[in-house]
Symmetry: C2
Subunit: 351 residues, 2 copies
């Protein structure tokens, strides 16, 4: 396999979970050891770890940590503990479905360990986390192969937020596609939208892209339309936090805006996401819960001083929903899904 | 007249020009006395005074200040001084045409003062500045009357940057329309885009709107599309920095994005600007010079610490051009100009 991960955003270390505190990047590459489940909960809530696939992995590691710490020993008390952990961790953030997907896998392991001693259960849980991580890496690599095929040398590409190594087990979804195209020798140029309010594009995506030797230009989010027109953008690639059965998907706020702008400028618009991001239990995007976050993210966070009047009302959704009608294709580890999305998603993933 | 200005962003005081340093708002309402022409030049350059009509007024006051300070006395040396001032001040910012429009008016006064003593020339220049300011106020009031007629009680409106009292002689262009609708007893709600990188929407527009008792919600720029869809925005109103003969216009970066998004969501999109913003010497928007500003505005200014990797490339245009095809109407002091713009602009302003 040609690809390799370049960053290790999360790992299990001697009974604790070591994370990169992504809120400090790019100024500081700081690792933090989470010794309690609540440390993981807050790390997810506060976006120290973020990105749908990585939130899933963090949830699974938090679950493993919780089971390690649990005093419970007997079968029924272990299952009770598992249920509590599942419920607790899944509340840390509501939109990315990868979290509940990973927690359900962990819960299933506990449920299947009938009458096994606790040590054995913990070993099996650890194996399951390793499988989740290993699968994520492989899915990212496969997505990147499919995605790279539609990228040509000379392409000018655009992305928002961070769908890279820092959002996954180390390689990335949308950025993985760029990495693979670059590894394949294609000469690409990437415009990264800064992604207000928390600036994941400015802080994380530019950092990753530059680290990987990709020609990178940072823009404010409101410059994207002008860039599409002025520099004739060849394609827009974004990640996803939850994809409904009909192909509608939630992703970082501003994604819907880019999709509409891409449509107007006749630019192909792709979303890249692994199986764990699909939620076939919901039929369309309107059913995806959208997290609204503290207005301070907009009025002061990251700023030296308040940048808006005291008491101003703020609408601060963390995500928006892009309807499938604006999507050229969804890049998955099983190939690129195109319209009609409902039928094609069902034939690949549906039961 | 029902309307009144609520803020006095610039004035002539005992041989100096007193400005509000708008970069400090809303944290601090700080006045600054400009005693030298270069103080005015830097105040414009650094956006202490900004907004196309106010830049024009600041230029005229800078010109008056320069002529006051000039040692020149004779006719030809006064004219030489005037030419130098005109050239110098017009270089402070390139996009807003109001600056060169106001400077040309001042220059014309000097040119017409054949053989008058310096005192007389200065008196006439002061009269001209007062006329420019007085006309600006009246134009804003008249625009607001025309604009208010197309606003209905219950409307949810959206704007970007600051086209208010702080951008003009005290009332505003696009925001003037909102003020008048509010004064007319219409119940309106306004969404203000924060306007990265310099946050004029977050800092100045919310401050003005709240001060005037208007229901105001601040959003990040990338939330506008979601807000248009989710809250069924009734109309978008923006200012302008230069309008070409065919109705294409330059305004704060992100305006073009809003125009495309409004088009997709079938939302009326209006620009409000007085005569001084039209540049009939150019046929279309492609000819408008677009200022690109320091990348530090994006990577660190207003932030406590760098928010992007050292050495990252940034594309930071201060303006973009909206083609007339996306514009529902241009609100002027002579009524609302609609398509066909070229013909209708010519019949109102053309020669």
């Amino acid at each position: 396999m040609k690809q390799k991960t370049f960053v290790n955003p999360i790992e299990w270390r001697n009974g604790t979970v070591r994370i990169i505190d992504q809120t400090r990047l790019p100024v500081e590459l700081k690792y933090e050891d989470c010794a309690k489940v609540s440390d993981i909960w807050w790390a997810i809530k506060k976006l120290k770890v973020r990105g749908a696939p990585l939130i899933g992995i963090a949830g699974a590691l938090g679950f493993l940590l919780g089971m390690h710490k649990a005093r419970a020993k007997g079968r029924s008390s272990l299952r009770k503990e598992a249920k509590k952990l599942h419920a607790y961790l899944s509340l840390s953030r509501p939109t990315a479905v990868n979290l509940s997907w990973a927690l359900s896998r962990m819960q299933d392991v506990v449920d299947s360990c009938v009458d096994k001693p606790k040590d054995e259960v913990l070993r099996e849980l650890k194996d399951e986390v390793e499988r989740i991580i290993d699968e994520d890496i492989k899915m990212c690599f496969r997505m990147s192969e499919y995605g790279s095929k539609i990228i040509h040398s000379g392409d000018r590409l655009l992305t928002v937020c961070n769908a890279g190594g820092l959002a996954t087990s180390g390689y990335g979804t949308a950025l993985g596609v760029f990495y693979r195209a670059h590894e394949d020798g294609k000469n690409i140029k990437v415009y990264a939208c800064e992604t207000r309010p928390l600036l994941q594009g400015a802080r994380l995506t530019t950092w990753e892209l530059m680290h990987n030797g990709i020609d990178t230009t940072l823009i404010c989010d409101n410059v994207a339309a002008d860039v599409m027109r002025r520099f004739k953008i060849s394609g827009i690639f974004v990640g996803a936090d939850r994809i409904a059965a009909n192909g509608d998907f939630a992703n970082k706020i501003g994604t819907y805006s880019l999709a509409v702008l891409a449509n107007y400028h006749k630019i192909p618009f792709y979303c890249a996401a692994p199986f764990s991001t699909f939620d076939l239990s919901i039929s369309c995007g309107r059913q995806i819960p959208i997290e609204e976050r503290d207005k301070k993210e907009v009025t002061s966070l990251y700023f030296k001083k308040p940048i808006a009047p005291l008491g101003v009302s703020v609408f601060n959704p963390a995500f928006d929903v892009t309807p499938h009608g604006l999507v050229s294709g969804i890049i998955t580890e099983k190939g690129i899904i195109r319209a009609p999305f409902k039928e094609n998603i069902r034939s690949i993933y549906g039961k």
